[in-house]
């Protein structure tokens, strides 16, 4: 896992937060929620493989 993933997640988080505020200010709360959910799904998509690797590593480490 490179540090680039961390920066990408941070950038997506900031941009989604800004877009959320912009949409809320324009009175489009439903679209703001959808945008936040979409950002969350994209980040989960990146992270899920690493989380799976983490669990496997812990399992191997402790012979579980």
């Amino acid at each position: 896992m490179t540090i680039q993933v961390v920066f990408q997640i941070a950038a997506v988080g900031i941009l989604v937060a800004v877009l959320n505020q912009v949409l809320k200010a324009a009175g489009r709360e439903e679209q703001a929620v959808l945008t936040t959910l979409a950002g969350l799904i994209v980040v989960l998509f990146w992270v899920i493989q690493h989380v799976s690797d983490l669990f496997l590593t812990v399992q191997e480490l402790f012979n579980l």
């Binding site: 997506v12 989604v16 877009l19 950002g39």
Partner: protein
């Protein structure tokens, strides 16, 4: 390789920004189109009610003082009437052409509704129909002016932010 990525990122950002800018200007263009249509309808009303001109002449004179696409609309109706088509059919068909420009579906439907009175009822009833359409246009312009500023800011910022998001995800 890095240069191609940078060029791609710039292209994606620019295109999203331009798309946001295009959507932000739609309301302004619609206001401009509706204002032109209102001016032309008031001129047409004057030609029918006060000058008592035949419909084809009234449409030609109105078209001469209007600007595109409203001018084209009146020219198409006038030519269709001169070719022998019924005024109501000509008006309705020409109104459907407006959908390709800055007018919304609702604007086109309301304009087409005037076909029921234009050209064959008495001048007073035609004037009432035109007044009703002008009233609808005024209400739409008022509504658009109130939401114009907010919508412009939303689409412009959303365009740039979406561009940045796409670049971040694809990089």
């Amino acid at each position: 390789m890095i240069y191609i990525r940078i060029i791609g990122a710039v292209l994606v950002l620019a295109s999203c920004g331009v798309l946001g800018y295009y959507y932000s200007m739609k309301d302004s263009w619609r206001i401009r189109g509706l204002s032109e249509m209102k001016k032309a309808l008031l001129l047409l009303e004057g030609e029918i009610v006060y000058a008592h001109n035949p419909l084809a002449d009234a449409l030609a004179k109105t078209a001469a003082k209007a600007s595109s696409p409203v001018r084209n609309f009146f020219i198409i109706v006038e030519r269709s009437i001169n070719l022998g088509f019924k005024a109501s059919e000509a008006w309705r068909d020409a109104a459907n052409m407006l959908a390709a420009h800055e007018f919304s579906v609702e604007d086109v439907e309301n304009t087409a509704r005037l076909a029921e009175s234009i050209g064959y009822l008495d001048p007073k009833t035609q004037s009432a129909g035109i007044t009703m359409l002008v009233g609808y246009i005024d209400a739409q312009i008022e509504q658009l002016r109130q939401s114009e500023g907010k919508t412009k800011r939303l689409y412009r910022s959303a365009g740039v932010i979406m561009g940045l998001l796409i670049v971040t995800i694809l990089i």
